[in-house]
């Protein structure tokens, strides 16, 4: 998935130095990748941003049974470059006419998580008129970074990027306020006999990769 792109690049580079196998990354939204895999994409491994797509692939036989696992757990943060840093969370309650950007709950797991969080906080009804929906978390963050929205509920991994304008507020949403953001990987039928791909999956579960993933702002199982 595209939100994992820079992390995946780091891991792939490490994998290549260790094994000599080159890794080619094709990034797109999980929905697109899913459709592509169903229609013969020459992909070996899917790193999805959710657990649904790998499960469906697993069940339909497009993925190799038993190779599915969670490689990262997303962390939702409330990000703003304009809000009062001290009262970040409570500021949201009285955000007034300010826009709040979330990823589209229909298409993005972080969007669903954001919705659950807002509902559980009792803010959903009052905030609905202020919500704007990004295609994904990246777009939700664009809305906030460009000043068009005051808040964005995005992935923690994104907010660690050094090139972003400094946040006045980055409040980590408690993990129990939404369903866990499991990001699962699966070996695809295309690579059923490909040992390098299997090696990559093992590597992804290994300590080096887990460390990288953790440093990139995700949880690990």
């Amino acid at each position: 998935a595209s939100n994992f792109r820079s992390t995946a690049e780091l891991i792939a580079a490490e994998f290549t130095t260790q094994t000599g196998h080159a890794v080619r990354l094709s990034t797109a939204s999980t929905g697109k990748l899913h459709a592509q895999i169903l229609h013969g994409a020459p992909f070996d491994v899917l790193l999805a941003a959710d657990a649904d797509s790998p499960r469906l692939l697993d069940e339909s036989g497009a993925g190799v049974a038993g190779t599915r696992f969670t490689y990262a757990i997303g962390i939702l943060v409330l990000w703003s470059a304009a809000a009062d840093a001290a009262n970040c969370r409570s500021d949201l309650d009285k955000s007034g006419q300010f826009r709040v950007a979330i990823a589209n709950p229909l298409t993005a797991p972080y969007g669903r998580a954001a919705e659950t969080f807002l509902r559980s906080a009792g803010l959903w009804e009052s905030l609905t008129p202020q919500l704007v929906y990004g295609e994904n978390v990246a777009q939700a963050l664009h809305f906030a970074v460009s000043g068009n929205a005051r808040y964005a509920l995005v992935a923690k991994s994104q907010t660690l990027d050094a090139t972003l304008p400094s946040a006045t507020c980055a409040w980590q949403v408690p993990a129990d306020a939404h369903a866990p953001l499991l990001q699962q990987a699966i070996l695809l039928q295309h690579a059923a006999g490909n040992t390098a791909a299997k090696d990559f999956l093992s590597f992804l579960q290994g300590e080096i990769a887990r460390d990288t993933i953790r440093r990139s702002g995700y949880g690990v199982p």
């Binding site: 649904d52 826009r99 589209n104 704007v132 990004g134 295609e135 460009s146 000043g147």
Partner: protein
């Protein structure tokens, strides 16, 4: 089946089309008639928006139209409203993105207007403005039709720019292209097929009507 997004799309496409025909008229006329050396430069600039991927163009428009952007700030001070995430913003973004598809056909049609006809109109007492409206414009109706069709269809199908600038707000900026996109992304293929079919049938009907009109003009 929620047809709100279709209705919104039709509004957006129609308004964009009309605005582009309005903008395309002086621009196309100038481009068609000028002997200025700037002509190729301006033509290239007009064509430039389509070179950027829509989402990226949308990204830059987001900055330009946002409260921090020059245009957005000006608009905000004027109207007290934000350009981004609003229908007005969508219209502006669509106009920029579809501009070349309106300007090119209009310009071509204006280029085909014979100088000799304009001269005849002048000697019959029509000033430049009058000759434009009574000769050049009616002789270019088919160019306008092509411009209308291309810009309408292109706006109907656009979603990258619109999604970025509009923020996918139901009832305000969630147009049909975004709605279908969402369904494909969330793997609801059946619903996507259905909505696509509706859009296609609708668009086909509109296009067919326009082209049939064209045929009538031609036969006159």
């Amino acid at each position: 089946m929620d047809l709100g997004p279709l209705w919104l799309s039709v509004q957006l496409a129609s308004i964009t089309m009309l605005l582009l025909l309005l903008i395309g008229t002086p621009l196309g006329w100038w481009l068609a008639r000028t002997r200025s050396r700037l002509r190729p430069v301006l033509q290239a600039i007009v064509a430039l928006p389509i070179v950027l991927p829509p989402t990226v163009l949308g990204f830059y428009l987001l900055i330009l139209l946002g409260p921090a952007g020059s245009l957005g700030e000006w608009w905000f001070r004027l109207s007290g409203e934000s350009l981004t995430f609003s229908f007005a913003g969508l219209v502006i973004a669509s106009c920029i993105y579809s501009l070349p598809f309106a300007v090119q056909p209009i310009m071509s049609a204006f280029e085909a207007v014979r100088q000799s006809d304009l001269e005849a109109a002048w000697t019959l007492g029509a000033d430049r403005r009058d000759a434009f409206f009574s000769i050049a414009l009616p002789q270019s109706l088919r160019g306008y039709l092509n411009a209308a069709i291309l810009s309408f269809a292109h706006t109907l199908g656009e979603f990258g720019v619109v999604l970025m600038v509009g923020g996918n707000i139901p009832g305000e900026t969630r147009v049909i292209s975004i709605a279908i996109y969402d369904q494909v992304e969330s793997l609801q293929y059946a619903a996507a097929h259905q909505l696509s079919a509706i859009l296609l049938v609708f668009a086909f009907a509109v296009l067919l009507a326009m082209f049939a009109l064209n045929r009538q003009w031609r036969q006159q």
